[in-house]
C-alpha cells in the first residue's frame, strides 16, 4: 500500500504550495506559490527537506488527517497552531505540539491542526515531501486554473495525499528558534507604475490612512477598505502586466493588493507596488487586520530584500535539537514575536 495522508477534515482552505510556477506568465499562468514563502521554507527545513519542497498551506482553520504510512516526520511553521496527535480516529486525548518543531506520527494516528493564531497561514511540511507530479515546473495549486497541487484544487474530505516516503529517517526532532515573523509597522511600497492616474490628494490619503483587510481576500487578491483613491483619467487602462504586490484600484476606489494567484495582466491602474521584502508578512496577514503603507525607493527596497534573503539563508542555523514532548502555544507565540504582532522595521521589537 502506498503511503499517504488521508484527509478527515480539510480545514478552511488547505492547498499544496511550493515557491511557485516561474517562467509561464507570458502564457497567462500566474506565478502562484506560497503566500508566505519564509514560513514554507521554515517548515521544510524543520523536516530536513529542500526549502523549496511543496508543503500544505493552511489558511485559518487546520485540517485533520490519518497517517497511512509506517511513520511520518512532520512540522508546522508560520502562524502558531495547536497540533494534536491522537492514537486513532475515535480517540479524544492526544499529544500536543506547537508550530516550529518537528514531530513524528505513526500508522493509524490522527493529526489535528488547530486554528492559526497570530497570523493567517500555517505551513505543514512532511519529510520527503508529497508524491505529486509538478505541472509547468511546480506543485503549487492554482485553483482558478485547475492546475497543480492535488487535482488542481483545495483538499477535501477523503483525499489521500501521496507521500514519497513510507517511513521516517532516523533523523532527530528539531525546533526552530528566533525566526522573526513579525510584520512591519507599515508595509513599504514603491509608487507606480500608474500613480499619475490618481489625484495627489488621494495618494496622500492612501499613504496617511489606515486600511482594513476585507473578507473577500483570497490567494489572488487582498481587498482593502479605508480611504478611497480618486482616479483623474478614468479607471480603465489598456491591459498591462501585474507584478506581485501591485495595488490596483478599480472604479469603486478601494485598493486591491494582488497576490500569488493574481491574473498576469489587467486593465485597472496600479497606484503602487508592495516591496518584495514585505510580501511574505503581507501574505500571512489576517482578514480584519489594520494595515498602512509607507513610500520607499527601489534602492531601499533592494537593501531590505537583501536582509530578508539573508534571514532566509540563515533559517537552518536556527535549528536546535528538540525535547520529545510538545511545547505550549504561548511559548511559540512569544518566541516568534507574534503576540504583539507588530515590530517597527527601524526600532526593532515593540513592547506592549
Amino acid at each position: 500500500m502506498s503511503a499517504a495522508l488521508r484527509i478527515l477534515e480539510p480545514g478552511l482552505l488547505t492547498t499544496v504550495q511550493d515557491l511557485g510556477r516561474i517562467g509561464y506568465q507570458h502564457l497567462g499562468v500566474p506565478t502562484g506559490g506560497a503566500l508566505d514563502p519564509v514560513s514554507l521554507r521554515a517548515a521544510n527545513v524543520l523536516v530536513g527537506n529542500d526549502p523549496s519542497e511543496g508543503a500544505l498551506e493552511i489558511a485559518y482553520a487546520g485540517p485533520a488527517f490519518v497517517i497511512e504510512a509506517d511513520s511520518v516526520n512532520l512540522a508546522c511553521a508560520g502562524a502558531c497552531a495547536s497540533i494534536e496527535v491522537l492514537p486513532r480516529e475515535t480517540a479524544v486525548n492526544g499529544i500536543h505540539y506547537s508550530s516550529m518543531q518537528s514531530f513524528r506520527a505513526y500508522r493509524g494516528q490522527v493529526v489535528r491542526i488547530g486554528p492559526a493564531s497570530g497570523s493567517s497561514l500555517v505551513y505543514l511540511a512532511v519529510e520527503g515531501g508529497f508524491d505529486i507530479k509538478p505541472v509547468l515546473g511546480s506543485v503549487s495549486t492554482y485553483i482558478r486554473g485547475h492546475i497543480g497541487g492535488w487535482q488542481g484544487r483545495a483538499l477535501a474530505k477523503g483525499d489521500a495525499l501521496p507521500l514519497r516516503r513510507s517511513a521516517t529517517s532516523e533523523r532527530e526532532e528539531f525546533r526552530l528558534e528566533g525566526l522573526d515573523l513579525a510584520r512591519p509597522s507599515r508595509f513599504r511600497i514603491v509608487l507606480g507604475p500608474q500613480n499619475t492616474r490618481f489625484s495627489e490628494r488621494s495618494i496622500k490619503d492612501f499613504l496617511d490612512g489606515e486600511y482594513t483587510i476585507g473578507p473577500a481576500t483570497d490567494r489572488m487578491a487582498m481587498h482593502l477598505h479605508g480611504p478611497k483613491l480618486e482616479h483623474i483619467a478614468g479607471h480603465d487602462i489598456v491591459s498591462d502586466g501585474i507584478a506581485l504586490g501591485s495595488i490596483q484600484v478599480p472604479g469603486h476606489g478601494d485598493p486591491i493588493v494582488l497576490l500569488a494567484d493574481r491574473q498576469t495582466t489587467g486593465g485597472y491602474p496600479k497606484v503602487a507596488t508592495v516591496i518584495s521584502a514585505d510580501l511574505p508578512a503581507l501574505g500571512r496577514s489576517r482578514i480584519g487586520d489594520k494595515i498602512s503603507f509607507q513610500e520607499t525607493s527601489v534602492e531601499e527596497a533592494k537593501q531590505l530584500r537583501r536582509v530578508l534573503l539573508q534571514q532566509i539563508d540563515a533559517i537552518p542555523n536556527r535549528l536546535v535539537r528538540a525535547r520529545r514532548s510538545g511545547d505550549d502555544l504561548t511559548a511559540c507565540l512569544l518566541t516568534n514575536n507574534l503576540i504583539s504582532g507588530i515590530v517597527d522595521a527601524k526600532l526593532g521589537p515593540s513592547v506592549e
Partner: protein, 238 residues
Amino acid sequence: MIDYNVLAAGDTALVVDFGNQVDLNVSAKVLALAGRLNDLKIDGVIETVPTIRSLSIYYEPLTVSAIWLERKIADILEHLEESPATGRTCDIPVCYDPELAPDLEQVASQCELNPAQVIEIHSSRTYHVYMIGFLPGLAYLGDLPPELVLPRRTTPRPRIPEGSLGIGGKLTCIYPMATPCGWHLIGRSPMSLWDPTLARGALLRAGDRVRFRPVSLREYWRTCSDGLVAVPRADTSH
C-alpha cells in the same frame, strides 16, 4: 525615435510602457523588445511578459540592477529594426450557430448588420495575438474590423462556458476556461486552447496569428468529442 517610459513596478519588475493604446505598431515594438531581451539571456532577468501596450520585465535586483536594465532597454530600442513577423499561424474552428452565440443577434443589430454579415466579417480576417493574459492561454486578438467594434456589455456575465468567442472594443478572444466575462459572445470553439500538459511551444503566444474557420453545429459537437487542442504551426504565409 520610439516614445516609451520605463516604470518601476516595485523592486523586482520594470514596465517598458509604450502608451495606453491598442495598436499593431506598438505591439510590434513590445514583441521585438521581448524577443531581443529573451535572446540575450541576461543573468538576473527571470521572465518577460508582453502585453498590448507594454513589456513587464521581472528581475532579481541582487543580480542585475534596474539602472543597468534601463540602459540595456534604451540601447535595444535605439537599434530596434522592424523585424519580419516571426509568429506562427493557428486555424481555429468556431461555431457561430445562435445556440452557441447568445449575443450574435444583439451585436448584429447594434452594428446595423445581419448575423450572417457579422459572421462573414469576423471570420474573414487574420488576427494578431497581442498578448496572452488574464487566464492561462487566453489570447487577446486584434484588430477587429471597425464595423464590429462595440463597448463591453454593461452587465458582465458571472460565468461563461469554456471555448466562448467574445468581442469587446478592438479585440476578440476565445476563453480557454469557464470564467466571468463582460464581452459579447458571438460563437464558441470546440478546440481547447489550454492544456498544461503540453509543451509550452504548442500553445498560442503573443505574436502568433489566428484565423477563425466557421463550422456547423454538427462539426462543433464532433470536434468537441475528439478533444482536439489548437496547435499553431510555424508558417509565415498570411
